[in-house]
């Protein structure tokens, strides 16, 4: 039987997985664009009372930035084929991600201690809602990392694991960048 020559027309030099991820990132960006326009509109109301920055947020921001560094390290190691060390840095990233969410919950508790809840005022409403929405997206990234880890532990993934890790890293940086943006939107502007 003649072997089929698999050739295809593609428009951009991106794999389906890459294209799919970028399309998803575009969608997620639009979600937070919607929230952004909402916060700008709501801010104009007379009842806007800014809440203080929960101190834990400085720590969580540092954690998430660090996690971008650790996943880049993992990516570099994956390219070099160093499987053992790669797993350590992947775990570190996932761990930092979980630590970030724990820290965010801690920040929530800091506000609760001050008597500031979700419905207390519009700023707090946005704070709880946006941190919650962001955390959901980040946990999705953590799940992807755990999936990669499990696969690499099984020894089933070969060198192309680099591609999946690269995709995870892209998404991870997006979620990290998104946090910085939200932080600025909520507390700097």
């Amino acid at each position: 039987m003649q072997e089929e020559i698999i050739e295809q027309e593609t428009s951009l030099n991106l794999s389906s997985a890459q294209l799919g991820l970028w399309a998803f990132i575009a969608t997620a960006t639009m979600l937070f664009a919607g929230f952004t326009s909402a916060i700008f509109v709501r801010r104009a109301s007379a009842d806007w009372r800014p809440i203080p920055v929960p101190s834990l947020l400085w720590l969580t921001t540092a954690i998430i930035l660090a996690s971008s560094i650790t996943i880049e390290r993992a990516r570099a190691l994956s390219k070099a084929g160093r499987r053992e060390s790669l797993r350590r840095w992947l775990s570190a990233t996932a761990g930092l991600g979980i630590l970030f969410v724990v820290g965010q919950l801690g920040a929530w508790r800091q506000l609760v201690a001050l008597g500031v809840y979700l419905p207390s005022n519009p700023h707090s409403s946005f704070f709880y809602m946006l941190t919650g929405a962001h955390a959901v997206h980040l946990l999705g990234g953590v799940l992807a990392l755990i999936y990669l880890l499990v696969r690499s532990l099984n020894g089933k993934s070969t060198a192309p694991g680099t591609k999946d890790l690269a995709l995870c890293a892209t998404y991870w940086h997006f979620v990290g960048g998104l946090w910085v943006y939200l932080f600025i939107m909520l507390f700097v502007m």
Binding site: E7, T27, S37, A38
Partner: protein, 594 residues
């Protein structure tokens, strides 16, 4: 550019499933999923159409008592008389189900999933598992929407547009309780499903085309679905954001949309400072692109069906593609034309009016291209062609109404009247519905290996078209006369007395329309089992799906995927003895001129 990274969809390395469950229930095959979407959409159409019958019953005879209906809807029709809140529920759910769970499901979920891999020459979608997931997320969404009728207070009643404060306060109206919450959850699931499908459409069209299938050799159907999916991916998320905020306002005490100082029976003290206008902006930011998500695939389907029955290429293929892209871009920046009377600055209104009227230009290019595509053709008046032609007329007529509404000044008079209702029904009721019918009659042979009955099809058409115009063209004039939307009865308004008889006419036409669809349903199911067997290419058409068997096997083609040598509209090609040249015919056999 050619790459071998993605091997035409996972089906290349897939084994064909054996069990009934894996073949027909939890299938990753795009053809099965497409048919599942289509059938689900048809079922939802029965419900949504039924709701319309009740609406028209009420509007034509507002004083009448219907004891039989009191038995089915004890709360809504107690004593046989429809109460106004129930009417609002009917209107809300009719709109919601039709827009999202019928038209979107059938055109994008059904035809999109079925046709895209076949027409681009792929074995399946880029992400078959995600595709299956997208369907099985829609199914609970359907149940949630339908189930909302049976919870305490009944279904949502704030219109398909779900404006706060009516939708934000649980006490506001019957249906604003559990019904509205279920509406929001159903919509959330719908948007999740749409996102999954949208990713699949976009990636498959960009990455999985067969060799030789450049973007400008894609059938118009594929272009339209690709563009619609891209619009949807970008436009839906702000509605997701708004839905989350509305859920919070309803259940968690926030005030994104609820203003201060609002009286509702008693003073509402725990909410304040929000603005309902924010919801309107976020909703219509999706709402306007949404109508193009619905109508572009309808137009694309027409451009595929027309040439098969004129035996000549369509007019202006490139122009049509560029027009669709322009419409998509412009559609994202005109949402304010739904809000002209909301108190916006006239300058902002002027901007939205200018932008809206600019969309007229590519729309007219498309409409004129459709008409020009007929010029000089040897027209075969088959059922799919009749529905496609009907669609062209509806696009023109309905589009004219858009000129009045797009203009901020005239819209002030027409907003929230039946002029709007007539306009959008002609467009996203008429153009899309006729495309669904045209597409079904056209692709039924490919999907099921049998032909639909032509005589029944023609009867279906000749009943549907006049009924449709009677209902919705009349409503434009009712709107001029001052008949307002979402009112459950008009018998208390003296100035509307003279036109009540037109409401009766509209309702009778609606019942005729509804009955005519029974013919279609009968034809569909009868032909599934007893229809004439269809060959691979019964219409002698040129696009790739017709090179596969009817119905195509798992993987769509045999060991070799098609190789494309020409654009999709080589009908009556010079140098070909046949009056059509499929896309796979080599240049050696027939010269490539277009």
């Amino acid at each position: 550019m050619i790459a071998d990274a993605d091997k035409g969809g996972a089906a290349e390395t897939d084994h064909e499933p054996r069990s009934f469950i894996r073949r027909y229930v939890f299938s990753t095959d795009h053809k099965v999923i497409g048919i599942q979407y289509m059938m689900t959409g048809f079922v939802m159409a029965l419900v949504a159409g039924g709701l319309a019958m009740f609406i028209r019953l009420q509007l034509a005879w507002p004083n009448a008592k219907w004891p039989m209906l009191a038995k089915i809807f004890p709360e809504g029709m107690s004593g046989g008389v429809m109460n106004p809140e129930f009417y609002l529920q009917l209107v809300t759910m009719h709109g919601t189900l039709m827009v999202f769970f019928v038209v979107s499901l059938i055109l994008l979920g059904g035809f999109g999933n079925y046709l895209i891999p076949l027409q681009v020459g792929a074995r399946d979608m880029a992400f078959p598992f995600l595709n299956m997931l997208s369907y099985w997320v829609i199914v609970p969404a359907c149940f949630i929407m339908l189930g909302s009728f049976f919870v305490q207070g009944g279904a949502a009643a704030a219109g398909w547009t779900s404006y706060p404060p009516l939708s934000a306060l649980k006490e506001a109206v019957n249906g604003s309780a559990m019904g509205q919450t279920l509406w929001l959850l159903g919509m959330a699931l719908f948007i999740a499903s749409f996102t999954m499908s949208g990713l699949n459409f976009v990636v498959t069209v960009l990455n999985l085309r067969a060799r030789g299938m450049s973007m400008m050799r894609l059938p118009a159907t594929v272009w339209s679905l690709f563009i619609a999916a891209a619009i949807g991916l970008l436009a839906f998320p702000p509605l997701t954001a708004a839905a989350i905020m509305l859920l919070f306002d309803r259940h968690l005490g926030t005030s994104f949309f609820l203003p201060s100082g609002m009286y509702f029976g008693k003073l509402i003290t725990e909410h304040g400072g929000g603005t309902p206008l924010l919801w309107q902006h976020l909703f219509w930011f999706l709402g306007h692109p949404e109508v193009y998500v619905l109508i572009l695939p309808a137009l694309g389907i027409a451009f595929d069906i027309i040439p098969a029955f004129t035996r000549k290429p369509i007019f202006g293929y490139r122009l049509v593609v560029y027009s669709m892209l322009t419409i998509a871009a412009l559609s994202m920046i005109v949402w304010g034309h739904h809000m002209y009377v909301s108190g916006m600055s006239p300058y902002v209104g002027e901007y939205f009016a200018i932008a809206t009227l600019t969309i007229t230009i590519p729309s007219v290019v498309i409409g004129l291209s459709m008409i020009a595509s007929l010029w000089g053709g040897a027209i075969r008046f088959t059922t799919p062609m009749l529905f496609a032609l009907g669609q062209v007329t509806l696009f023109g007529t309905g589009g004219l109404g858009g000129l009045f509404l797009g203009n901020a000044t005239s819209d002030i008079q027409l907003h929230d009247t039946y002029f709007v209702v007539g306009h959008f029904h002609l467009m996203i009721g008429g153009v899309t519905l006729f495309a669904i019918f045209a597409g079904t009659y056209y692709w039924f042979p490919k999907m099921f290996g049998r032909m639909l009955n032509e005589r029944l099809g023609k009867l279906h058409f000749w009943l549907t078209l006049p009924a449709f115009y009677t209902i919705f063209l009349t409503q434009h004039f009712l709107g001029f006369g001052g008949m307002l939307r979402r009112y459950y009865a008009f018998n208390k308004f003296q100035y509307l007395g003279p036109i009540q008889k037109w409401n009766v006419l509209v309702s009778i036409a609606t019942f005729v329309l509804g009955t005519a669809q029974l013919i279609f349903m009968f034809n569909f199911f009868w032909s599934l089992f007893k229809g004439k067997r269809a060959e691979a290419n019964p219409w002698q058409a040129t696009t790739l799906e017709w090179t596969a068997p009817s119905p195509p096997p798992h993987g769509n083609w045999g060991p070799q995927r098609p190789i494309v040598h020409r654009w999709p509209y080589d009908y009556s090609t010079p140098g070909d003895s046949e009056d059509y040249t499929p896309q796979t015919v080599t240049p050696a056999a027939v010269p490539v001129t277009a």
